[in-house]
């Protein structure tokens, strides 16, 4: 697995809890609509980012490996 992740928030699912930006302000921010998004194209792979994705109550966040395109979260 590579050390960079491509992290996306699905705007159709996101209900603007703001939890991602509150938990990891370096990796996530809120846009003008209050929806979460990653602060850059790719993020360094980390337990913290994975935990943010897992803790999103509607699982609006998905993670793929930036090099291999392999799905990191959600599993399956």
């Amino acid at each position: 697995m590579g050390d960079r992740w491509k992290v996306t928030v699905d705007p159709r699912v996101c209900v603007r809890t703001g939890l991602c930006a509150a938990s990891a302000p370096t990796e996530f921010k809120l846009d003008e609509q209050g929806q979460g998004r990653a602060t850059s194209e790719t993020l360094p792979a980390s337990e913290e980012v994975l935990e943010v994705a897992e803790s999103c109550p509607i699982e609006a966040i998905s993670i793929v490996d930036a090099d291999t395109e392999e799905v990191v979260f959600p599993p399956e």
């Binding site: 159709r12 699912v13 209900v15 603007r16 809890t17 703001g18 939890l19 509150a22 938990s23 209050g34 935990e51 897992e54 803790s55 999103c56 109550p57 509607i58 699982e59 959600p74």
Partner: protein
Amino acid sequence: MTTAQPPLYWDPFEAELAKDPYPLYARMREEAPLYRNDRHDFYAVSRYTDVQRGLADWQTFSSARGDILEIIQTGMEMPSGTLIFEDPPVHDIHRRLLARVFTPRRIAQLEPRIRAFCERVLEPVTGADRFDLVEAVGAEMPMRVIGMLLGIPEADQATFRDRTDATLETGDGGRIAQEDILNTEGFQDYIEWRKKHPSDDLMTELMTAEFEDENGNRRTLTDGEVLTYCTVVAGAGNETTGRLIGWFGAVMARYPEARRELVADPSLIPNAIEEILRFEPTGPFTARYVTRDVELHGRTVPAGSAMLFIQAAANRDPDRFDDPDRFDIHRVSQHMSFGVGAHYCLGAALARLEGKVAAEEILRRFPDWEVDWDGAELAQTSTVRGWKTLPLVIRGA
């Protein structure tokens, strides 16, 4: 001559209106998108976009004084750790401690245990030709699940549930007593006991989880905070989910065609639960405290006002949902019943799972029923809407 409509008046405390509030909500969306009630001194919005924007805007519409109209109006001090009565950033710090436990994936792992509880509560009524769904399942199953999560011994779980239900029950026109809303009596003893007997439950996790507080100090929660957390989780998880199960029974009796579809194809159940949540939300509205003057529909809502966001009205906004008063288990929708923004229901995944499991197990045992509507009774509370008793008459029993 046209028949004049009676003047638009909505009283959230009135029992009669709670029976079928939807025609009135439709008028509010249409005629008074910013509704003002002088008698009870509050404003209300009912359109989807207004509810969605407002609930997400915690800077303007604060939870720090509570999310229940009569509690906001008392101006009572809120203890730390209530979550539902806090704003970011303190709210987010406190919520993160619980969020790990309530993630959709961790909740999904509980399914076999939740199903076992459900099977157990259904056992006594299996084969019956009539039973009260609320008494048998709605009041029992969520209590067992929350009790298991918190680590409360089974013998004592009913005492906690009954205390919350009694607090929320208000009677026609009644209010919640402020001294009752965060009554933590009872949990105190468990916290003392749990400290000496740690387990893999939520209470233990809350007592031991280290976090950085709003002042930058690394610490664990105080006993008082753990106590408040547990009270809030137990209170929020019992009654609301119980009422969801009640609505399942009621709505399925009203729409037998949908019920037959679910019996034939249980994979449709999760989406049907979403539609029941949209159609008959157990928490029809949420109150917030207005922190600054705000313009809405050409009027100024002054700072210091109370604002009610009527999610049950937003859920039937024709600008958002096609044919909104039609119950359709195939509808794909994003309803407002779990809220939006920072206070999006922490237990949403758990409620959905409990609703799904209850529906599966009930339909498997009782594919066909009617409700004895004369014997059914709506619970009267100013916060939660649902059945207090719902006698099912089983067909083909």
